[in-house]
């Protein structure tokens, strides 16, 4: 029996059995913060209240449907109002609402209280990746989806965390209040981790904040929750909650990694090294729009193969890069193209420029390769 048939049968068996299978998650994820716990309880409270009302109201309706039928000879009464009844069924729901509003209000105040945080992380949404900036820690990195395109295209078996895995997860210490400062560079995104009970829009040009304090170590996965274009479904959020020690070790390692990356800008790179590095940078950051083969998706995302920018001159007679040149476009972006100077280091930008000028069917003759030092100088 093939996989499709198994899926189909399991779907059918759920309909019959009522869903005892663990794969069928029916409720909110198990909370790991106090706020998420309160949300969970609030939701259950409302569900039970609604269920109660549901049973009473539709119990009455189905009783009536059964008893007051013409086919069993029931004669229609002709009443059409009853003031006491009408007042009662206006007041009772209002009282029930008050009972729900009270705990909900308390939770809202708690959710909005971002004071006395132990640490702050600035999170920026980009089409279609997240950037994490640990303020005052000198740690800043991009977090990309790490699921392969082949898995998405059904050419490869899908992994356990399909679409919910990233190359660089956010790492935070357990039991610490983390203030998350959110913004976006292009369109609105939303940063959502269900287990934390946190969902906040990231709005370009504005700073919004939220917070969480995870009580349990583990890896928690969320997704962008605001439609942000083509790859909206492909920019997950992964947060690893670890012990304080592990967190400190991670911080040091991340800072060293960044320093090593920056150091690469000072040496002369060979064309082969640039091309090899450029290919990985391209596939991670550029292929989502310009496609792996450089053909793009015109008109929204132009082709790189044969592009005037990728083949044309970069530097003017004064030795500086020209407006609308390859370096200008990479550093400063234009329209949907992000300004990569904030996202990639000198080596990455130089190598991906070199790669796109010499691969993907291109062979630029003017300014054929670009060195990291040139990018450093151009910033």
């Amino acid at each position: 029996m093939n996989k499709k048939a198994i899926h189909f049968l399991s779907a059918l068996s759920l309909l019959i059995s009522g869903g005892a299978d663990a794969a069928y998650e029916l409720n909110l994820k198990s909370p790991v913060t106090e706020i998420a716990g309160q949300i969970y309880d609030l939701h259950m409270l409302i569900v039970y209240i609604c269920l109660g009302i549901f049973v009473v109201v539709f119990g009455i309706m189905f009783y009536s449907l059964y008893k007051h039928r013409k086919s069993v000879g029931h004669q229609a009464a002709q009443f059409h109002e009853h003031h006491t009844l009408e007042i009662i069924w206006t007041i009772i729901p209002a009282v029930i609402l008050l009972a729900i509003a009270f705990p909900a209000t308390k939770t809202i105040f708690a959710m909005k209280d971002t004071s006395a945080a132990d640490m702050s992380v600035k999170v920026t949404g980009y089409q279609w990746k997240w950037e994490y900036d640990y303020l005052d820690k000198n740690v800043k990195f991009i977090s990309n989806l790490s699921t392969s395109q082949d898995q998405i295209d059904n050419k490869e078996e899908k992994g356990e965390n399909y679409l919910l895995e990233v190359d660089n997860p956010m790492v935070v210490p357990v039991g610490k209040k983390v203030r998350v400062i959110l913004t976006a560079s292009d369109v609105i995104h939303a940063w959502w981790v269900p287990e934390f009970g946190v969902k906040q829009d990231a709005i370009p040009g504005f700073i919004k904040e939220t917070w969480f304090k995870a009580d349990k170590e583990g890896t928690y996965r969320g997704q962008c929750a605001e439609l942000c274009g083509k790859a909206h479904g492909f920019m997950p959020i992964v947060v690893e909650v670890v012990s304080e020690e592990k967190y400190n070790t991670w911080l040091v390692a991340k800072a060293e990694e960044a320093a090593a990356g920056a150091a690469g800008a000072d040496k002369e790179w060979t064309k082969e090294d640039l091309l090899a590095k450029g290919k990985t940078v391209y596939e991670k950051n550029c292929a989502v729009c310009h496609q792996a083969n450089g053909a793009g998706l015109p008109p929204a995302f132009p082709a790189i193969t044969g592009s005037k920018i990728a083949l044309g001159a970069i530097f003017g007679p004064d030795g500086k890069y020209m407006p609308d040149s390859h370096i200008d476009r990479l550093l400063n972006g234009k329209g949907v193209m992000p300004a990569w100077k904030a996202l990639l280091n000198d080596v990455e930008i130089a190598s991906v420029i070199t790669y796109t000028r010499q691969a993907l069917g291109n062979a630029a003759t003017v300014d054929p390769i670009v060195q990291p030092a040139q990018i450093k100088a151009a910033r």
């Binding site: 299978d21 007051h68 013409k70 004669q75 909900a104 209000t105 009970g197 370009p204 479904g233």
Partner: protein, 526 residues
């Protein structure tokens, strides 16, 4: 429905055009109502086909049929066309057919305006459908068109905005016509508090339309000037605010929800008393509840924006006002139950649809209450839970009321009884398939599946497959609807004037099918 007697109008001094020109130039409320209904059904099938594309892609994890950018076009246009092309025109179709018949008026107050408001729909529909074929494809930023994403889109976004402007003009003109007709052309003796409930709900809906549509026009106009004329209403870099669009949009958007549901309430309040053979319970409280819902609908808009990060005071205000709406809505549900209570019920197709709507709309109301609770909404906003919620209110609320209404009045429109067996088949397949499609979405949403994504992690695979199977069945069921309607137009058992044993009101005093001209002499209402 084109069977209105040819012999009848010969004895009138003013003959009217026949053939195609009869429809193009029509100033007759019945013909225009018919055109509205057919237009609506066409758009319903088109937008439904887009939904089939969505569900086919979501049948399994991975990308199978469409690329993500095309998927976003499907969801965007599915929403826009269902709302502006299917649901709203269907209710205007009912208004055209039924309001003059129900209040004893010979026609609408402004027949030529009526013709214009219908024919404006056609260019708007062409713009929306054609936008799939322009470079870059159709608008893909969601039906809500939030900037800055919608500013990135191609020329299809401009076509969509232009279509919205045209549809807005059509709605406003239509509403003015409806209000004028109701306020000025009621038969002698029909006071406002004697009007059929359907007329009341439409009167209030028309005011909502006049208040809300210009707001939407303003929002999309700012969008188009941001796109092309260098303004920065929604661009923070130029001193604007992307969230301003959301405020303006939802100031329209929430009343819009009630624009799509109040006439449905009117249809239920007509059908249920007929088949319970008992007067509508709490007529006056029904009118007040409708008005209360309409007023409240203007002060709840930001509950669509709980995750934008408003100040606490704003969050609390919009949470409380939203919760409050459930009170008048509850009153309506209780009134329908009390109408059924101790009646003498029969279960013809219109009644089946009405009972299902009361039942399923209430489920949509419950999930609405869950979403109203701000902390819970933080988890549910932009997930499949919301998709489940609004399909429970818009499909099993609005669309199924429309179906019930069509079955209810079809004999009056065509002069024939529809095929009851097939009607019931349509009812059961629709209701079951609808629930199979949308009920599991509550679970996928709770478990954390965001909406508007073309691919999902494997934990959601089972429920999505069930939803897709349900959706395909739901789509196919509507072909049966088309068949039943065509069969009824072509022939069937002759309908009596009263059609239904328990039916009361002026529309049931005229012949079936309703003659081309009715109530040329106003009837007297006691």
């Amino acid at each position: 429905m084109s069977t209105t007697t040819a012999a009848h109008h010969d004895d009138h001094a003013h003959g009217h055009p026949t053939g195609l020109m009869r429809w193009v130039k029509s100033t007759n409320h019945k013909d225009i109502g018919t055109m509205y209904l057919w237009f609506s059904f066409t758009m319903f099938m088109f937008a439904g086909a887009l939904a089939m594309g969505i569900r086919a892609e979501l049948f399994q994890p991975g990308l199978q049929f469409v690329q993500p950018e095309v998927f976003n076009q499907l969801t965007t246009l599915h929403g826009l066309i269902m709302i502006f092309g299917a649901i709203m025109p269907a209710f205007v179709g009912f208004a055209n057919w039924q309001i003059p018949l129900m209040i004893g008026a010979p026609d609408m107050a402004f027949p030529r305006l009526n013709n214009q408001s219908f024919w404006l729909l056609i260019p708007a529909a062409i713009l929306l459908v054609a936008s799939f074929f322009v470079p870059g494809g159709a608008a893909a930023g969601g039906w809500t068109m939030y900037p800055p994403l919608s500013v990135q889109g191609g020329m299809s976004v401009d076509m969509t905005i232009f279509a919205i402007h045209i549809l807005g003009i059509s709605s406003i003109v239509g509403s003015i016509n409806i209000i004028t007709t109701i306020l000025n052309m009621r038969a002698p003796g029909m006071t406002l508090m004697k009007m059929p409930m359907f007329v009341w709900t439409w009167l209030i809906t028309a005011y909502l339309l006049i208040a809300a549509m210009p707001v939407l026009a303003g929002a999309v106009t700012m969008l188009i000037t941001d796109r092309h004329f260098g303004t920065h209403f929604f661009n923070a870099a130029g001193g604007g605010d992307p969230v301003l669009f959301q405020h303006v949009f939802w100031f329209f958007g929430h009343p819009e929800v009630y624009i799509m549901i109040l006439p449905a309430f009117g249809i239920l309040s007509t059908i249920i008393p007929t088949f319970a053979r008992k007067p509508l319970f709490g007529y006056a409280s029904m009118v007040y509840a409708t008005a209360a819902i309409a007023v409240l609908s203007f002060v709840v808009w930001a509950h669509h924006m709980f995750t934008t990060g408003m100040p606490v005071a704003g969050q609390l205000f919009f949470m409380y006002s939203t919760m409050l709406i459930s009170v008048p809505t509850g009153v309506k549900v209780f009134n329908w139950l009390a109408t059924m209570w101790r009646g003498s019920m029969t279960f013809e197709t219109p009644m089946l649809f009405s009972i299902a709507v009361v039942f399923l709309f209430t489920i949509g109301g419950f999930s609405g209450l869950v979403c109203a609770i701000l902390p819970v909404d933080i988890q549910l906003q932009d997930t499949y839970y919301v998709v489940a919620h609004f399909h429970y209110v818009l499909f099993s609320g609005a669309a199924m009321s429309i179906m019930g209404g069509v079955y209810y009045w079809l004999p009056k429109w065509t002069g024939h009884m529809y095929d009851e067996t097939l009607g019931k088949w349509h009812f059961w397949t629709t209701t079951i398939a609808f629930n199979v499609t949308f009920f599991p979405m509550h679970f996928t949403g709770l478990a954390g599946m965001p909406r508007r994504i073309p691919d999902y992690s494997q934990q959601f695979a089972e429920f999505n497959m069930i939803s897709s199977l349900g959706a395909f069945a739901l789509g196919i069921s509507q072909l049966l609807f088309l068949y039943v309607v065509i069969k009824c137009i072509k022939g069937g058992k002759k309908a009596t004037n009263q059609v239904w044993e328990g039916a009361h009101g002026l529309e049931w005093t005229v012949a079936s099918p309703a003659p081309f001209h009715t109530f040329e002499t106003p009837p007297q209402v006691k």
